[in-house]
Amino acid sequence: MNNIKTSSAIRRRYRADGRFKVYCLAAVLFALLFLVFFFSDLMTRGWPALLQAEVQADIHYSEVVAEGRYRKAIDKSLRPLVSRGWLRTLPLYLEDHPQKMGSREELWVIASSAVDQYLKGHSSKLKLRHRKLVDKLKSEGRIKLAFNTGLFTRGDSKMPEIAGIRSAVVGTLYVLFLTMIFALPTGIMTAIYLEEFAPDNRFIRLIELNINNLAAIPSIMFGLLGLAIFINFFGVPRSSALAGGLTLALMTLPVVVISARAALKAIPDSIREGALGVGASPWQSIWHHVLPLAMPGIMTGSIIGLAQAMGETAPLIIVGMIAYIPDSPDGILDAATVLPAQIYTWAGEPMRAYAERTAAGILVLLAVLLSMNALAIGLRRHFERRW
């Protein structure tokens, strides 16, 4: 006999429901905790890299400096505090600005990483007397922590205080652009063919199966493939953005194909029949009606694919994009490096100042990735429609 009053069996069921809810909530909290830990750790590590110690110094552009004895440009007492890497750029600077020859100039110059670390309160190998000097200069306001613009305007360097992410960012842009122009058209066309035109036979099914499997292949394999095909066979220069872009395009292609197919599949057949019914050709029905409707979905998937490619390191290491590249590439055939690879290189450096920059690099990468994903979500929201 059914009874609508609560029985013990029903109460047991409610308790089970309640427990299940608690487990789920715990799982979410656990994941959230990890995320919070990860971000706060990165923030605290990466934050200091946004600041850089600078010293006010009197620069003397003399003949000696132009001849290469750049340390002579500043007063002997300040020399141990100033970045050698920065001083080293002076002869070149004088070559470009000969009118400065013989003049003097009061400048805020980049301090050495030892000074930087000392000022930030980290352990530093700065000598005691230099520490005293720094303390004195600080009280006089002639040494300070300023915003580290160099992090964004300079390329990699063997000296952490003048190492920046610029060449990596430029490299990333090149690579991403190439990935996009190779992977998107090819992927979308492939999807259109498979979804709209391909007959349903064994050959096509084999292709579909392969594309789906391709998306699951470890990314390093694409690096090996890129090395074998693009570099060894077609002779694309090693380490170049072209090699990296092509390799990542291979990797992104299946993602684009799969998401574009899903987007096309989501367009109801009535749209196609409506267009065909008024005498549009199959191509017109796709180009004028189906594709515009599918585009937001396709873009969403593609952006996520590109974001994935952007964070990829393994295949790029294989095609040589992990090299020490201090200068931004000037073209797609120049040696280039990318942000994740730069992060990887810096992470391997023992100096504390590099650790800071590693975290800062990760923050930049994350910010870009998050904004790409936000863009994808925004696109999806904006174009959501009913039919």
Partner: protein, 264 residues
């Protein structure tokens, strides 16, 4: 040939569309077992019959919409004004401009009302943008009895209209191509009685200009709008005659059972 269909209500001289011995398979499944009938120009012909008997399939043979379906194959012929539309030199796209189609579920393009009408004339070069196109759009909407309702919101999306309005928009879109034949597959099945009445009125008007073939499950509708009615059962044409004959004095007991609601 099927014995029942030999009682031709439309002589082949009068027929605009001549279907002869049409057999059709989806894969191994034979759906039409040799259907023959003639459809008369500027008249309304209704296809009735229980669900799954092949009405839609037959209708879609007339503008070759079935070409899209994998594994669909047919035998026999469908003639439009004396040309076999399945002949190899027939251009399907061209054919569909002569044989328009209105679907069961209203399917306006998710574009503006104006653009819904203007799209086809533009791709066929019937009218360029500008005054000529404006006139064409207005004219088609008038003829579809929709103008008064939408004249102030031509730039609004067609999908924002009511179901009945959407269906009339689809009819307007179809006549904008100036077809000779309009195929309608249960055009009112998604509509309420008032919207249905409007469409039926419209069909009555349109038959002065177009040859109309309509599939319907609604016996009253078939009786109201059509001049000829064909009754199908399990892929066979059972009876084809004047609508009044079918509904008042059917030859076959199957037909009678169906229209009186005793089965199907």
């Amino acid at each position: 040939m099927n014995e029942a269909s030999s009682a031709e209500p439309v002589s082949s001289a009068d027929a605009m569309i001549g279907i002869d011995g049409l057999r059709l398979w989806y894969g191994d499944h034979e759906v039409l077992h040799g259907v023959s009938l003639g459809i008369r120009e500027r008249h309304v012909t209704a296809f009735i019959g229980p669900s799954g008997c092949g009405k839609s399939t037959l209708l879609r043979c007339v503008n070759r919409m079935n070409d899209r379906i994998q594994g669909c194959r047919l035998e026999g012929s469908v003639m439009l004004d004396g040309t076999d539309i399945y002949a190899p030199d027939v251009d399907v796209v061209q054919l569909r401009t002569r044989v328009g189609m209105v679907f069961q579920k209203p399917n306006p393009f998710p574009k503006t009302i104006y653009e819904n009408i203007a799209y086809a004339p533009r791709i066929h070069g019937i009218a360029r943008n500008g005054v000529a196109m404006d006139e064409l759009v207005e004219n088609c909407l008038h003829r579809a009895g929709l103008w008064e309702e939408v004249k102030d919101k031509l730039q609004q999306p067609g999908t924002a209209l009511s179901g009945g309005q959407q269906q009339r928009l689809c009819i307007a879109r179809t006549i904008a191509v100036r077809p000779e034949v309009i195929l309608m597959d249960e055009p009112c099945s998604a509509l309420d009685p008032i919207a249905t009445a409007k469409i039926e009125e419209l069909i009555d008007e349109l038959k002065n200009e177009f040859t109309i073939v309509i599939v319907t499950h609604n016996m009253q509708q078939a009786a109201r709008v059509s001049d000829y009615t064909a009754f199908f059962y399990l892929g066979d044409l059972i009876e084809y005659a004047d609508t009044s004959t079918i509904f008042t004095a059917p030859n076959k007991t199957q037909t009678e059972d169906y229209i009186t609601g005793r089965f199907g």
